[in-house]
Amino acid sequence: MNVLYGLLQPDEGEILVDGAPVRIKGPGDAIKVGIGMVHQHFMLVPVFSVAENIMLGAEPARGGFIDHAKAVKLVREVSQRYGLPLNPDAIIEDLPIGIQQRVEIVKALTRDVDLLILDEPTAVLTPQETDELLEVMRGLKAAGKSIVFITHKLREVKAVADRITVIRRGRTVGTADPTAPETELAELMVGRSVVLEVPKEEAVPGEPVLEVSGLVVADDREHRAVDGVDLVVRAGEVLGIAGVQGNGQTELVESIMGLRPARAGEVKLSGKPITTWHTREVLRAGVGYVPEDRSVDGLVKEFSVAENLVLDLYDLPPFGGRFALNLDAIAAQAEQKIAEFDVRTQSAQQPVGALSGGNQQKVIVAREMSHPLKLLIASQPTRGVDVGSIEFIHSRIVAERDRGAAVLVVSSELDEVVALADRVAVMYRGRVLAVVSPDTPRETLGLLMAGIDPSSSSHTPGREQDTRGEGMSEHGEAAS
């Protein structure tokens, strides 16, 4: 979609508008050929008024001054024509998210576009706002505009779309009719072609290591991202958490790690409550943590490979004492881990940012497995990692399980969860919808991930009682 809007350039292929090939070098070109885009993250100036934002980049000017009256008039006109009421003089930062989005849509419409791209517009909206948006989209359709609506929520596409194209991992995997049954769509979304095989024995679950009960966690926008989760992970088993990204998995894991306060509920490690522990104490208690975003949370890119390998062990002997670091021990550790985990780097002193994604991930995995673990939490352990490294990381995770550690794997790749897990918990809107066996049919898992419990009669769970907003506004790997 960024290619269509000119933010990225295609490597191959061509774009046809009304049958004619076009080259779109930037958003300006895109608007010229009639393509407008509403980004997931709004591109608005918070301290400007609605009219000013809409005019930004195409200000009606009169003798070097901005013709404010004309701008206001234009905004009124467009918003009335499409039934999108807006107060042109309101300041953006005072408006609720849903109205801000409306401003974005009107902004695109004032540029006279024929095709409107909505990139995950509902990710930031409350259910009511979502319904309003769907209504708006129907109105725009009636007014003769084309809309590309990107979402990973089945209910929404089915409600509004005329044609559905499923894209998975950068490929079109199918086209469906909105009347098609949800199972068919779910199957397309989840896919069954790639079957990851991780050789492993039957799990021998032991004592419960991680117990989560009634956990409630708020996200950065103070929404209940985790809404009463109960989980148990036993020694010697892998519990996989499946779910489209942004359904509370991130917040759940961060809360267990002491990075995000729990609003209610309890987390226990080997029977000891750790809900209020600091991250360091949790790590010291024998927890290894592979964070989901390695470049943000996992690594200090400017640090050397050696330093990153002791990022959470630097204050423990033999690496560091009360005041000093033992650089020799750190270097020796680096050499050993680089060899053991086959990290491809020029030297241990090279900045970790210069390594490939797979090798960066190996550095994190190596670090987290370099002290005895009771519990390993791996979030998206193989995202953006090459195939060889995926296999390696998977085998290390299974090896930890076989050694007797409890393992919690969170992934938005269903294949990965199914391949690794001994039990699969499906998260949807901050709740664990079901805990099932990894042998459960894909369609069932896919439906669960879309928030539909095939075993129950109620069709759209949570729809009615749900008054809070959606989870984090990130792309899922399996977006429809």
Binding site: T279, L325, I338, Q346, Q349, N359, Q360
Partner: protein, 468 residues
């Protein structure tokens, strides 16, 4: 360790870092810098290493680049050293132009440029070069004095007077430079050096003027009090930032004003103010409280301050490279999210970093209060806190760089005084030159364009460092 294939063979390696180009052999390049004196020994060791760790070695063709060629290429390339040096030259040239503009006699000469170009340009050159020579004489060494001393016409103290002045001026600047450089490594911009230095001066000065203990007790006590009070002033910023998220730049600017006004109030208080004088000045600092001079001579003012400053720089260098707290500090500076995820207490680290910075700036203030100032006055510190920012930037926020930059600025200050005395060029020009140097250093693209520097072969490695 089993694979011998070069790094480029790694799938996805180039995709992950397209701007790095073909993997750059950082160790190989370093090698050329490190062993100019011992090329043979270096080579031998090099090959030894190459056999032990085949995977970590640079590609073969890079190995063949001779030291001389590497040196030549690096010399006129955009590495930090060359850029800094050229920035200084550029600033001095600009300073020369300003000298000419500012001097009526020489400026008038330029009316006759077309009639007697030789004289005009000759006089201008003579004026500017004399001024800069005077500056050098005032900052480093005056050959005339050396000559006169050789013929027993003056004392040896006179010979060392310029150096002593430079060192005296440099000490507080090194401290305040470190006070900016350390938090910078933690991702914090400490504008509060001035306020922290003032608090340090109050702490150290009060001990210096109020007590009469043996010097061996009172001096360390004064230094400690200065570091403590400055540290407290910095810690306040750190805690407020860590707890409330308030921005350190705003906090430190406000605290600068508060410290300045507090000093004005403080020196008027009973017991502090000199009762024998009507102006705002404290009682004189006791002799037993003063930092001892390096050489006990009334002419050579250089005191323990410069020694403490260099020790502080060494301590900071150790801390950043080998210290456990330095590791936390750098991790927080580069990526606070990853630091928090690894269990580092980010808030505590920020608070302690600011406390350390405050203590360093406080020592800077103390080194003035107990070193050269006869008593506490409102303007005794001048602008050392703000000049510290320049020193830190010129020193590229590295401890030894700060020492070098502090010495340079101290020399400019000392030389500027001499220049004013002998050539009649206003000492304010020094401030302009200092600012210009930092301006040019901060705009390396400008310097590169002016001198048409080549892109350094080691630039990629340094680009990473420059960010920190």
């Amino acid at each position: 360790m089993t694979s011998h294939e070069p790094i480029e063979a790694e799938p996805g390696a180039t995709a992950a870092s397209p701007d790095k180009g073909p993997a750059l052999p950082t160790p190989g390049v370093d090698q050329y810098h490190v062993d100019p004196a011992l090329p043979a020994a270096g080579q031998a060791e090099h090959h030894d290493q190459a056999e032990r760790q085949p995977k970590h070695r640079a590609p073969e063709k890079e190995e063949k680049r001779s030291f001389a060629r590497a040196f030549r290429e690096e010399l006129w390339a955009d590495n930090n050293f060359t850029v800094t040096l050229l920035a200084i030259v550029l600033a001095l040239i600009c300073g020369g132009v300003l000298m000419v503009v500012g001097n009526a006699e020489v400026r008038d000469q330029w009316q006759y440029l077309l009639y007697q170009p030789g004289k005009t340009i000759g006089d201008t050159w003579a004026f500017v070069s004399t001024a800069y020579t005077d500056m050098f004489k005032g900052a480093v060494v005056n050959p005339d004095t050396v000559n006169r001393w050789y013929w027993n016409m003056t004392t040896w103290q006179q010979v060392f007077y310029p150096i002593s002045e430079t060192l005296t001026n440099a000490a507080p600047l090194i401290f305040t430079g470190l006070a900016v450089a350390v938090p910078f490594r933690a991702g914090l911009f400490n504008i509060g050096g001035q306020g922290q230095a003032i608090m340090g001066a109050i702490g150290g000065g009060t001990v210096g003027l109020a007590l009469s203990l043996p010097a061996i007790v009172q001096v360390p006590l004064g230094v400690l009090a200065g570091a403590l009070l400055g540290g407290l002033w910095g810690y306040l910023v750190g805690v407020l930032k860590a707890r409330t998220g308030a921005h350190e730049v705003i906090l430190t600017i406000m605290l600068n004003n508060i410290a300045f006004l507090f000093l004005g109030w403080f020196i008027l208080q009973q017991g502090i103010k000199d009762p024998n004088r009507s102006d705002a000045i404290s009682k004189p600092i006791q002799e037993s409280g003063k930092l001892p001079q390096l050489i006990p001579d009334p002419l050579l003012r250089a005191n323990l301050g410069i020694v403490l400053a260099v020790l502080a720089a060494a301590g900071v260098a150790w801390l950043l490279k080998r210290g456990r707290f330095g590791f936390e500090l750098r991790a927080v500076g580069h990526n606070p999210h990853a630091a928090a995820t690894a269990g580092i207490k980010v808030g505590t680290t920020i608070a302690l970093t600011m406390a350390l910075a405050g203590a360093l700036a406080g020592l800077g203030g103390t080194s003035v209060a107990l070193g050269t100032a006869p008593a506490l006055t409102v303007d005794m510190l001048g602008q050392i806190g703000f000049n510290g920012i320049l020193v830190a930037l010129l020193g590229r926020v590295r401890p030894w760089g700060v020492v070098g930059a502090g010495l340079l600025f101290g020399a400019l200050q000392a030389g500027g005084n001499a220049m004013q005395t002998f050539s009649g060029v206003s000492v304010e020009l020094v401030g302009v030159i200092q600012a210009l140097i930092v301006l040019f250093v901060a705009a390396p693209a400008l310097v590169k364009a002016i001198y048409r520097l080549r892109r350094s072969p080691a630039a990629a490695a340094q680009a990473g460092l420059a960010k920190g």
